[in-house]
Point group: C2
């Protein structure tokens, strides 16, 4: 990522911080995990429409709107003590690396069909690991995830 | 944004760059503005489901998936010479500032109803400006947006 791109992203996050801060906008500040659903639906539909029409300036604009919703939902959940935007970045990064060992761990593949099988196998393993994580034990009863 | 959050975002973008690079993943690399629509639909629906269930670890994970789709679509369009991720950041930032003069330009408001009216007025002005921008003139025939 170029320095200019990083700066632009930092500026965007600063704007959103101000928007959700003490002197921010009452509309944005009062959004919740429930209220935001209808905006997520409409913004993702607008992005789909722009993609279908190949309306490039509009694709760019709608990507920004969906991105704002993603950051806003992360902020709502940070305020509620659930997770932060940093957690979102870290988790998707870890998942991309884990699901692409042919790019990040030097494994080889013959065909794209093999790749699809490998992807499915990794997903199954993730589900299996998640089950082990949430199973109660003598030392740790309940959901530890 | 904290330094750690910036680092995590930079790491994510580096991973995606590698994924879409020369030695990257054939599946991710072959996606287009058309092919990506079905994944955008399913990922945004999964985020909606997680929000409805208030499944916080899943909201975090699905936000990451939608974010990846946003960055992937931006990469597709950069490759096609349309716009970059930096353009997405810059445009949404400009729009947020433009639509919130009560936060960024010191204008005042009485009620939330006034705010909604102001928002609508700004949107109408944007549409008007866009029409002027794309109207043909003697010096510049056709779409200049």
């Amino acid at each position: 990522m170029s320095i200019k791109t990083k700066q632009t992203f930092t500026e965007l996050l600063e704007t959103i911080k101000q928007l959700l801060g003490e002197e921010g906008c009452p509309w944005d500040k009062k959004q919740t995990n429930e209220s935001i659903i209808k905006y997520l639906k409409s913004e993702s539909q607008e992005l789909i429409d722009a993609l279908e029409k190949k309306d490039y300036p509009n694709i760019c604009e709608e990507l920004g709107d969906v991105l704002y919703i993603v950051i806003l939902i992360s902020s709502i959940n940070k305020k509620e003590g659930q997770f932060s935007l940093e957690d979102v970045f870290r988790e998707v990064n870890a998942k991309l690396v884990r699901r692409h060992p042919h790019v990040f761990a030097g494994t080889s593949y013959e065909t794209e069909e093999d790749l699809a099988k490998q992807w499915e196998k990794i997903k199954q393993q993730e589900k299996h690991d998640a089950k082990i994580q949430i199973a109660p034990t003598n030392n740790n009863k309940g959901n530890i995830k």
